[in-house]
Amino acid sequence: MEFQPGEEKGKDGRKIIKVKKEDLLSTLESLKKKGFNHLSLITGVDRKDYIEVVYHLHSFESNEYVVVKTVTYNSKVPSVTHLWKSADWDEREEYDLMGIEFEGHPDLRRLFLPQNWVGHPLRKDYNMKNVQYINMDEDGEDYATFDPGDGW
């Protein structure tokens, strides 16, 4: 399915705005100026050859809801932490589990998994059979050890 910029209505009746990656920041900025001050959710969807990034925005004043969608082929997307602080942990989570690199994020580390975890679990090509053990070092930080064997 080819990605076309434009607007459509989703199955749940929400307005979906599809933009190119280059126009993402400007679109979100103009939306924020329109009063969409609540960034509800950032989602990455692994479509195998590209990754879809979905932003759910809500406006408290006008009670409107809008979904902004973009795609990335090199799993890099500009960060929106300067627009909404709520994006901070969302982007870290998506980086952790989906492997999307948010350019310009001030502190892009893994949120849930240990920092040296191998792979991004929500990717479709992630091998779930590989086992990684989590341990704790002297300072209380977690680290993962990779089991190169066949796993389970």
Partner: protein, 367 residues
């Protein structure tokens, strides 16, 4: 220059509900920096959901907010049923409304008891759990399970409300308001409690919105936003209730908003139990033999007002019997992230009091 001492609170610590770890830097008694470290309960439910049938995924949602499981089930089913095209019948909608509100009260009661413990009050914990036990008996009667009910299912609910359940709910409605008042007075009539909460942990409206805080925390900061009103789901458009809002934004405001929410929930339940219509409790399109053959395509986002805040479920289907991608917006995660902002430059004792009002449940944060 004074030296900052690094202190680890958690993951095994009496005040961090669950496995929260707070890396704090203290200067004497004053906390200068807080960094929550999470992930100790991470199971990656989103990945697990991708490998399970639509109907079975409900189990993972039970285990998110395990103190108020039916509320999570409702959130998932709002999205899944739209995707699969099997709307529940009218009676199931009302039953779910009742269960969701009961779970909201159950969750708030756990929070209330635990908040007392955070501040060093032992007694209210038992009073809160005494009332919660009444809800647990209703859950057991309805679903056979106390905690992880797995009561709702795609296309309806697992079994109909019988007379005994209705009777128990009516009993609960009768005793709940006075018990809630009793609990409330255990706290707010205590001067030390007021001094520990009033003006402590102030969160401005702007900060709350910026960090994506929702639920009682947001409403205590003066934003009148409740998904039950903003985008009514289930039967919420047909019942009368009010959204408690406070403009104070401190610990006490968050406390009072939650207490008022419990009162409103009792009000909703008492209306819903009167309006409970007759009819089927299950959509025949979703009968058991069809369950694992249901296919969904497209993408659906549904948001519900869980006890902690706006709970969103985003499901992408590719026409298979399993979802292609499931994404959960967990309210506690966002509510916790604001602790970096409001937990700064307070005393250690206040940090505990503030993190208590964020109402954290780690099944939901770590997923």
């Amino acid at each position: 220059m004074s030296e900052w001492v690094e202190l680890n609170m958690g993951p095994q610590h009496p005040s961090t509900h669950g496995v929260l770890r707070l890396k704090i830097k203290v200067e004497g008694e004053i906390v200068r920096e807080v960094e929550p470290v999470i992930g100790y309960l991470h199971r990656n439910a989103e990945k697990l959901c991708e490998n399970t049938f639509f109907c079975d995924n409900l189990l993972y949602f039970d285990r998110m907010d395990y103190v108020g499981a039916p509320g999570m089930e409702v959130g998932y089913l709002e999205a899944a049923e739209k995707l699969l095209g099997v709307p529940p019948p009218e009676r199931a909608i009302w039953i779910r409304t009742i269960m969701a509100e009961l779970s909201r009260i159950a969750s708030h009661l756990v929070w209330l008891g635990a908040y007392g413990l955070d501040l060093g009050m032992l007694t209210p914990f038992f009073y809160a759990f005494d009332l919660r036990e009444k809800i647990m008996t209703i859950f057991v009667e309805a679903s056979g399970s106390r905690l992880l009910t797995n009561y709702c299912s795609i296309g309806g609910v697992y079994q109909d409300f019988n007379e005994k359940i209705v009777q128990e709910i009516e009993d609960f409605i009768n005793i709940a308001p006075s018990k809630i008042e009793e609990l409330n007075s255990l706290f707010v009539k205590n001067d030390i409690f007021i001094s520990r909460t009033k003006g402590i942990g102030y969160m401005s409206k702007e900060v709350a919105i910026d960090y994506g805080v929702t639920g009682p925390m947001l409403r205590a900061s003066g934003v009148e936003y409740d998904v039950r009103k903003a985008e009514p789901y289930l039967a919420y458009s047909k019942v009368n209730f009010e959204i408690p809002v406070s403009s104070k934004g401190d610990n006490l405001a968050r406390f009072l908003v939650r207490i008022e929410e419990m009162r409103q929930s009792v009000k909703i339940i008492s209306q819903a139990i009167k309006k409970l219509p007759d009819g089927p409790f299950f959509n025949p399109k979703a009968k058991k033999s069809m369950m694992i053959r249901m296919r969904g395509e497209g993408e659906v986002y549904a948001r519900t007002e869980a006890s902690k805040g706006e709970f969103g479920v985003y499901i992408v289907g590719d026409g298979g019997v399993k979802p292609y991608r499931v994404r959960v917006r967990s309210p506690s995660l966002k509510n916790l992230s604001v602790l970096r902002e409001i937990g700064k430059n307070v005393m250690i004792a206040d940090l505990v009091a503030i993190s208590g009002t964020t109402d954290l449940v780690f099944g939901e944060i770590d997923r």
